[in-house]
Amino acid sequence: MSDQTHMHVEHDIAPGDEEQHSVRERILGYVVGLGLALLLTATSFFIAGTNLVWQPSIPVALIVLAIAQMGVHLVFFLHITTGPDNTNNVLALAFGLLVVFLVVGGTVWIMAHLNQNMPPMDQIMQMPR
């Protein structure tokens, strides 16, 4: 950050306070968001029950739909954009994603390897006391 930069504090807008848009535009935004969210939800329920697609792909499809759902919420309801007035929000999101990735990824990895240094149960049973 160079010394000339203005305090971008003034330009940065918290989620929710957007004075620039008219009420109509904002309502429209929420309606579109709601529509997309409902569509994605309905699709998830449909996919879960159908046998039109290859069965093992169902969990993957559900994960994809869930992530899309999060995207819709972030954009339409929490108003995360890529505009310059959104640096803090985007950075916060990135930090959150990083932490979630580290914790969830790490957990999956750790839990899958927990028994590597453990003898199988039947061997423990036969150990001399």
Partner: protein, 677 residues
Amino acid sequence: MPAVPTVEATMLGKLDWSAIPLDQPIPLAAGGVVLLVILGVLAWVVVKGHLPYLWHEWITSVDHKRIGVMYILLASVMLLRGGSDAIMMRIQQAIAYQSQGYLPPEHYNQIFSAHGTIMIFFVAMPFVIGLMNLVVPLQLGVRDVAFPTLNSVGFWLTATGALLVNLSLVIGEFARTGWLAFPPLSELSYSPGVGVDYYAWSLQISGVGTLVAGINLVTTVLKLRTKGMNYLRMPMFCWTTLASNLLIVAAFPILTATLAMLLLDRYLGFHFFTNEAGGNVMMFMNLIWAWGHPEVYILVLPAFGVYSEVVSTFSSKPLFGYRSMVLATMAICIISFMVWLHHFFTMGAGPDVNAIFGIASMIIAVPTGVKIYNWLFTMYGGRIRFATPMLWSVGFMVTFIIGGLTGVLVAVPPADFMLHNSMFLVAHFHNVIIGGVLFAAFAGFEYWFPKAFGFRLDERWGKVGFWFTFVGFWVTFMPLYIAGMLGMTRRMQHYDVAEWRPWMLVAAFGMLLLTIGVLAQVTQIVVSIRNREALRDRTGDPWDGRSLEWATSSPPPVFNFAFDPDVRGEDAYWALKHHAKQQQLEDHSGPEYQDIEMPKNSPTGFVCAFFATVMGFALIWHIWWMVILGGVGAFATFVVFAWRDHDEYVIPAAEVERIDRINIEERRNLVSLAGTL
């Protein structure tokens, strides 16, 4: 269990007279003393007519400085409680060689569990959060934190947690599971009493408070900086505050979720962590440490910030390597989320997993090392003044290096297989937490006390306190390293190995020195309050400081600054001061004074916490009607708060001017005095 609940069971849940431990004199006496002290203070307050003052100026205050002071007060009181636990444990281990000592096992277990819980959650956490609250808005040059009322809610919820833990002394019992309540021991089948419930509910409630404080402080640093205070001009303490509170926001929800699962197991027969029905205790280990390791950095990062401020001020030099310091802080912030498995190397994971997490843990020592060198280079060539805060800082550097090194040692998996859960580990974490966090708390306390109250602390007693604590620390904890290497495990109520005995005796002697240190610090406060007129600081800048908190009077007015300070570089106040000296503070024709709007006081926090206390207590004792009452009450409080119309009041420009003129006058005297020297 009767099929149809009796009237008593409906009214009082599990609570009856057997909950009062009449057969155990020690906790009852301790609880009784605490109760007497509280009642005594309350009675004194009411009789002297201080109650309205207390209510209007402190309990309902949303001023970040007042809230900061209350956090620190809570931490200090709890330090005495946790310290008493420590004294009892050291005495027990000193005499329990081939004997049962004086504490029966079930009692000893409660003491070490309460000690750890209290020291981490109700001493270290409130102390650092208190310092951040007190100082950060001042350093940023702003009038308040981002969410003043939320701030008060956060404090009072923390106090609720502390109250519940202490209540367990007289009503019921505390957990016997250690400070992290590992299952399956903490499950209903092995801990059927209310101990674990006391533990879990106090942490759930105070955890919400901590999360709220974290959100508040992150927002404050990101959104509320004065003109020209861009990120790379913020004092180091603000940076470490940002990093620490980002960690709070990211990590505390993990703790809440984990404890919630444990509570579901205990209350509703779930099987997240039980031995049977598909539960997995290792998931608890995994989750609790995914919070637990970031937690230690939540504590130590603000501590690093305090040292940065103190070392630079008392060396009369800018902080060496400011940018590398920022980078190191943020690096620690991220890496601290990549090492948690090092707390359970020995629990089954294979070489790949252990090696990766071991290496990641050792890497954290690199940015920490960078910081140590930066402090040393800041001191190098400076005109160092060894006032009490500086003593704590130098003491920290010497002590913390050993703690860091033993940390790296236990981060080597093969070494950890020998040292895990031994007294060596106990020595390691006390070495970093006392030598790092507690020393910083004391340094910050001595350093910012004049800012908060307008008079300095007595230097002589402060130094006595430092030396006894410093030497006492080494005498208490170095023997524990040795005992650990001789094979002594942690949390032993008694033992039969002769080689350990001498070290336990030395450690007990060290504890005596530590106790004297604490008493010296209490004396210091009493003596200083008595001599406050002689110790009065009229300048607002007793240490020749460098950052903006010293630019206003001590104690600062509610609005902190009459004008938004204009920041042109690092060490904002230092630059201002030298600029002003050149101009002899001639022109103060500056801008016109303006009305200032400040947030109104609000009892929301206190009332919320009252209902949270009721609800927590009821949950612990299964008194369901009271749970509902507490929940409805807390929610109603929130609704009332959300619907209020006027949340700000105006301080008229004339009043601002009057207050500010006094401050300017004092300062002008200071500058002209400096001119004559």
